[in-house]
């Protein structure tokens, strides 16, 4: 396969070389005093204009080109594009941090997000390609017949994809605001422009070829910093091979540091603080007014004595910032209490599987680990924006091959993420902990300023203890270049990579949403006689509307967006996976069965998420319906129940309804031969 390069491969090789030359040039310019902010702008401008050039070159007004890139994407490149499509801002920025915080338990994400591709390869991709239409609702509509199932599929696809696309645009805002100091809202709209240049003119065709370009940037950006860090620490630039040794070292440091008297004291202080908050919450609303009175009294005392004015002003500000009503006080104090409780717990050992004090705790961790893997794998194999990619290859066997390439390209990142986490932990344990706070390295202060790292000397000994340090997971990838003392050009590269990851995923998602609306709803249901020209006009205008809508939502900085992404997996998994798999492998599955299975599965997931996660929904007038999780399964793994219920419902209802006479000829068509077999 590598012997002779095709024309496309040569183009992308030139492209990669010019990107590397660009980085080299910036590195030289930095040596000669180019300010960091300009380096950030240069990366932003260079990468987005590259994408724009590809996007404009791939413009098209052909329906098949617009929806499935003319089914002419070779397996290798489809794999690369799927890689970029798949790896989102969360994978690029968040995953290494999650692994840092949760150790072995976080590996569920690594397994789930790769293992799902085995399901795609074995159960879905070849059959979708042989079916050869445009969307996932198309497939369900053709297999089961009727518009109802198409509408349910469209609704589920939009629900899962929209949440996801908002998270990507949010990620773009975060990256641009941190690295080129644009205002967050402006960053969001820069991201919107970056997305539109790729998808507006050329649809799937343009998205595919920009995604390939984005993959190249994101993988270079992800691996470079950790390779340099690995070389600095171990003398070997291949982090994946050598971090076992570093992990052992981390284990030794953990043994030495976790239970020093100072650590135990700090954890005790946090526990006391948590108790204090608990008490205050119990005594609401009295405790709030009491606190305010005390503060006022102190201010008055100070005004009567000769205290400095600025101390009084500070206290008055503190009084202004106090919670206004008991509701707000409860919310704020609860979050403070939970953070104190977190810090009061002994830290986990990085390599320990299913950590817990007793056998029951360990069992809960074990169940959740496996449940999360289940939901992520099934969700991976059910997210429409990934599955649609397998419509774009020229042949069925290329569709199969392209799953292989997809997984290979995705694996490069997921195999690196745990190394990131281990190297970062090694740096923290060996260079931060037990160091006087005044002498901490510069990057800690720099990231503390933006609020991603916080340090609180609760026992006032002037020395940092593990529990006194708290880090936002995003900081691991973003700060690694500084941790390893690399020039700013590497930080700029990381920002460009994160941007590529977010933009490429957003492109794919946006296209899925607009295709669902314009193709499945408008063309298939509302106006089957619409001309191809009209269909494309509708598609493009919807793309614009949905993109602006998503950016507007992202600009509001919705707080729960990251957990909502995890829920999207459960919802997509329980809506699509059972209906697709049984639809392909079981002749007896009927329309009524599939429809009820999709509804039961996705509604059960949503119900579980709502009842476990929330206590009340004010705008529906429901309150006090919080429930204990079933079998200790967290709400992020709601799909465990949704998917199983979906399968069960389809089987039971199908057996009670009349078999579909057309199913077997349809299935003959997608299982064995091509068009002739299909009626």
């Amino acid at each position: 396969m590598f012997g002779s390069l095709t024309k496309l491969q040569r183009y992308y090789l030139y492209y990669t070389a010019s990107f590397l030359a660009f980085i080299g040039a910036l590195a030289v310019l930095e040596q000669h005093g180019m300010p960091p902010r300009w380096i950030g702008y240069a990366f932003l401008f260079f990468t987005i204009s590259m994408y724009a050039v590809i996007g404009i070159m791939s413009r098209t007004s052909d329906v098949s080109e617009y929806y499935v890139a003319g089914r002419s994407v070779p397996a290798f490149f489809n794999g690369m594009a799927t890689g970029a499509d798949w790896m989102s801002a969360a994978s690029f920025i968040g995953l290494a941090g999650t692994l840092y915080l949760s150790g072995h338990q976080g590996l569920a994400y690594v397994i789930g997000w790769t293992g799902g591709f085995v399901l795609v390869a074995l159960l879905l991709a070849p059959y979708l390609r042989r079916f050869g239409e445009y969307t996932i609702p198309d497939f369900l509509g053709a297999r089961y017949g009727g518009n109802a199932i198409r509408l349910v599929a469209v609704a589920a696809a939009i629900l899962a994809s929209f949440v996801y696309v908002v998270a990507q645009i949010y990620g773009v805002g975060v990256i641009t605001s941190r690295f080129v100091s644009l205002q967050f809202e402006i960053g969001v709209f820069v991201g919107l422009a970056g997305i539109l240049v790729c998808s507006f003119l050329g649809g799937m065709r343009a998205v595919t070829w920009t995604q390939v370009a984005q993959y190249v940037i994101l993988i270079i950006a992800y691996i470079t910093p950790v390779a340099i860090l690995s070389y600095n620490v171990t003398g070997n630039p291949v982090p994946q091979l050598v971090y076992g040794k570093v992990l052992q070292e981390v284990g030794r440091l953990e043994e030495r540091l976790f239970d020093t008297p100072a650590e135990i004291e700090v954890r005790k202080l946090y526990r006391e603080r948590a108790d204090l908050y608990a008490q205050k919450i119990m005594q609401l609303p009295h405790s709030l007014s009491h606190e305010r009175e005390q503060l006022s009294q102190r201010i008055n005392e100070m005004k009567n004595s000769d205290t400095q004015m600025k101390d009084i002003v500070a206290l008055e500000k503190q009084r202004r910032d106090m919670p206004h009503d008991p509701e707000q006080a409860k919310a704020r104090w609860e979050s403070a209490m939970f953070s104190a409780v977190d810090r009061s717990k002994p830290p986990i050992h990085h390599a320990e599987a299913f950590p817990g004090d007793d056998a029951e705790q360990q069992l809960i961790q074990r169940i959740n680990f496996l449940a999360l893997i289940f939901c992520l794998t099934v969700g991976t194999a059910a997210l429409p924006h990934v599955l649609t990619r397998y419509y774009t290859t020229p042949t069925v066997s290329q569709a199969r091959d392209s799953v292989f390439w997809s997984l290979l390209f995705i694996l490069l990142l997921y195999i690196t993420a745990p190394a990131y986490a281990v190297f970062a932990k090694y740096e923290v344990l060996s260079h931060l902990v037990e160091i006087p706070i005044a002498k901490l390295p510069g990057w800690v202060a720099a990231w503390a300023k933006v609020g991603l790292v916080s340090i609180e000397d609760i026992n006032a000994d002037g020395i940092l203890q593990i529990a006194e340090l708290s880090m936002n997971p995003d900081v691991i990838v973003l700060a690694t270049p500084e941790i390893a003392g690399m020039p700013y050009v590497v930080s700029g590269l990381v920002a460009a990579g994160g941007l590529a990851a977010a933009l490429s995923t957003a492109d794919g998602l946006l296209l899925t949403i607009t295709t669902a609306l314009s193709h499945d709803v408008y063309y298939r249901i509302v106006r089957p006689d619409a001309s191809t020209q009209l269909r494309l006009v509708i598609s493009k205008s919807l793309l614009l509307v949905v993109a602006v809508l998503a950016a507007t939502v992202a600009a509001q900085k919705p707080g729960t967006i990251l957990s909502m992404v995890a829920w999207a997996f459960s919802i997509a998994g329980s809506a699509f996976f059972p209906a697709l798999v049984l639809g392909i492998f079981w002749n007896r599955a009927t329309r009524a069965g599939a429809l009820s299975g999709m509804l039961v599965g996705s509604l059960l997931s949503i119900y579980y998420i709502l009842r476990v996660e929330f206590d009340s929904i004010p705008w529906l007038g429901i309150s006090g319906f919080n429930m204990l999780p079933w079998f200790h399964v967290q709400s992020t793994s709601a799909g465990l129940f949704g998917v199983l219920a979906g399968f069960l419902t389809i089987v039971v209802v199908s057996l009670f309804t009349k078999p579909d006479p057309q199913a077997s000829s349809f299935l003959q068509g997608i299982r064995c031969s091509n068009k002739e077999g299909r009626a």
């Binding site: 590996l107 893997i373 066997s397 031969s673």
Partner: protein
């Protein structure tokens, strides 16, 4: 249904099922015992950690590679069209 495509589908199903069971055993059954696996060391890693961080991913890739290879052979044997 023609007899040859019947056999093709039977063999495809058997291959799919075998690999799927292998996948389930590795992903869910083996991981149930990750704590116990961690008592062994492999390439300086605790074995359970290694499997979850690298080993399983490589096995997944191998499963897909093997499936594609076998399916290509089956396609050729039964003359299944590829378009």
């Amino acid at each position: 249904m023609k007899p040859s495509s019947d056999a093709y589908w039977r063999q495809t199903k058997r291959l799919t099922l075998t690999l799927l069971v292998l996948w389930i055993v590795l992903t869910f059954v083996m991981n149930w015992f990750a704590r116990e696996f961690n008592d062994f060391t492999f390439l300086d890693f605790p074995l359970g950690f290694y499997m979850d961080a690298q080993g399983l991913l490589l096995i997944y890739l191998a499963i897909i590679w093997y499936y594609n290879r076998r399916m290509r052979q089956l396609d050729a044997k039964y003359g299944i069209e590829d378009k």
